[in-house]
């Protein structure tokens, strides 16, 4: 046996916890895949239509919301595409952040018994969200074809926008989890806050509504507005976002991920001590 094969664990080895966590979650990538698989399988396992639900679910919601809100806001014929792309981006963030909290609470009983990098649970939640997001692009394209919004090549930019949304959601989810680990009611409070946040973000109405209503500052301070925008522009306007639209979104996503990751990994050891 060569000594290189034998893993050595030395608590005195000083690696920054944020880096160590990153290294370990890469090492546990198979686990991340298994948890994503489990989440997708168990959600639909005992239902007749199975995984089709992850497409039918957003499709149904899209149809209802399009029909309802098109009559209110929709003078523009591209309104359905505006609403749907915004909803997809928003729902991804909302679901990812809440499920990060839920998954980490599920994981905390496990973490009393075995070592697993805690962020693996958070990354799995994001992974599940991404699978669902990818699946809901199919109904999105369907709806766009039906209502006659042209599908342009610029739609290929959406994975980059999704990547920034992923970074933002992971960072925010980790940050919220730090509180949720200590106080279970944080996740309930977040649900309420999330709803308010959604209605303050131009998802179902246009940005003009806030800008003309004298509440332009609401647009400026809302980080999600920038991220939703760069996801929406390639779908609705059929163009790639310009630099001025892109950099604030990238900056917000990057900072959120860095802050969330650092705060979470700093606190992670404390979780185990405080039982």
């Amino acid at each position: 046996m060569s000594s290189t094969n034998i893993p050595i664990y030395d608590s005195a080895q000083r690696v920054h916890p944020a880096l160590e966590e990153l290294r370990e979650s890469i090492r546990y990538r198979y686990l991340i895949r298994q948890i994503v698989r489990r989440d997708i399988l168990t959600r639909y396992k005992r239902s007749v239509l199975g995984v089709a639900w992850s497409m039918l679910n957003p499709l149904g919601m899209m149809v209802v919301m399009t029909v309802v809100f098109s009559t209110v806001f929709g003078r523009d014929e591209s309104y359905p595409a505006y609403l749907l792309s915004g909803l997809l981006a928003w729902n991804f963030m909302a679901e990812a952040t809440t499920s990060i909290m839920r998954n980490l609470v599920w994981g905390s009983s496990l973490l009393q018994r075995i070592y697993v990098p805690r962020t693996a649970f958070a990354i799995s939640s994001i992974g599940t969200g991404l699978v669902n997001l990818a699946l809901s692009v199919i109904p999105l394209v369907l709806v766009m074809l039906v209502v006659g919004v042209p599908i342009r090549l610029s739609i290929l930019f959406t994975p980059i926008a999704a990547l920034l949304l992923t970074a933002f959601s992971l960072g925010l989810g980790l940050l919220l989890s730090v509180f949720a680990m200590y106080f279970p009611d944080v996740s309930e409070m977040y649900k309420v806050a999330l709803r308010a946040w959604m209605y303050l973000t131009p998802i179902i109405y246009g940005e003009e509504l806030l800008a003309n209503g004298g509440a332009k500052w609401l647009l400026v301070v809302n980080p999600m507005r920038y991220l939703v925008n760069i996801f929406r522009i390639p779908i609705r306007e059929g163009r790639i976002p310009v630099w001025e639209e892109f950099w604030p979104a990238a900056l917000i996503a990057g900072v959120m991920l860095a802050v969330g990751w650092l705060v979470f990994t700093r606190q992670a050891d404390e979780f185990a001590y405080r039982v």
Binding site: Y28, L41, V116
Partner: protein, 269 residues
């Protein structure tokens, strides 16, 4: 009441004898301490916490689960840990398993650790036995490929070939325990952590698992065993440490430590 101190009992084993009997050092604790922070009053909600924070009433009681532990365990040893409930035995296993980080001091572990604390970790009732084996295995840190290679063997050992594609909710608790034990031990771990979990499953399986333990011992696997059963300790341990209120009270040859521990326990009654 005077009890033998650590330094007295350490001298019971001369370093030379240890070198002859056992291989190189695989686990070392250096001045290891672990501190828990227990909230003085339980605060369940964030609202409560915020109110108390404003009032300046948030306080924590510190509890040292382990204090200045110094131990060295060598390859091939079966090392027992005895002590009262809450003495810190399980905390010590958790430190080796990386579940807890030392608050101060150092722990050094060489080799692959199989924590029997994690038997059946993450089992999901809606998934099939097969899917659970993979989920549980990756939770224990194995790769997809490793699990594929070991899969047949795991199922055979658990004796669940016929049921492996049925959902776990249809399994009896004994079947679940068998599957969990099979995944956790179907490796060549260098170090095995056992926390009184051998009493799982039916008699036939218990014999099987005991046989596997013996197999491990013969193959030279280092075992760290926490038990309240002095019979188990006496029959398989080479050395024993007596943990008392987070400190190593005595360490040495099995018979001596167990005798001292039992005498103390009987006195206390």
């Amino acid at each position: 009441m005077s009890l033998p101190t650590v330094s007295d009992s350490l001298s019971l084993i001369s370093p030379k004898r240890l070198d002859e009997a056992w291989g190189e050092e695989v686990i070392r604790f250096e001045n290891l301490s672990v501190r828990f922070r227990v909230p003085a009053e339980r605060m369940r909600t964030f609202k409560e916490f915020a109110i108390r924070r404003v009032q300046g009433k948030v306080s924590f009681r510190e509890h040292w689960a382990l204090r200045d532990v110094n131990l060295s365990i060598r390859a091939g040893e079966v090392f027992g840990l005895v002590g009262h409930n809450g003495a810190g035995k399980s905390t010590l296993l958790k430190v080796v398993a990386r579940i807890l980080k030392p608050t101060t001091g150092r722990v050094w572990v060489k080799g692959r650790v199989a924590p029997l604390l994690g038997v059946g970790a993450g089992f999901h009732p809606e998934l099939t036995g097969r899917e659970n084996v993979f989920l549980n295995g990756t939770l224990l840190g194995f790769s997809q490929q490793e699990m594929e290679e070991k899969f047949e063997q795991i199922v055979a050992f658990a004796g669940l070939e016929k049921f492996i594609d049925a959902p776990l909710r249809t399994y009896s608790s004994g079947m679940r325990a068998r599957l969990g034990f099979a995944v956790a031990t179907d490796t060549q771990p260098d170090i095995l952590l056992v926390d009184e979990v051998l009493a799982v499953g039916d008699v036939a399986f218990r014999e099987k698992s005991t046989a596997r333990m013996n197999e491990f011992i013969e193959r030279g696997t280092t075992i760290l065993l926490v038990s309240h059963s002095m019979n188990t300790i006496l029959s398989i341990c080479h050395r024993v440490a007596w943990i008392h209120q987070g400190r190593v009270h005595m360490v040495g040859e099995t018979e001596q430590v167990v005798a001292a521990y039992q005498a103390n326990r009987d006195n206390a009654r």
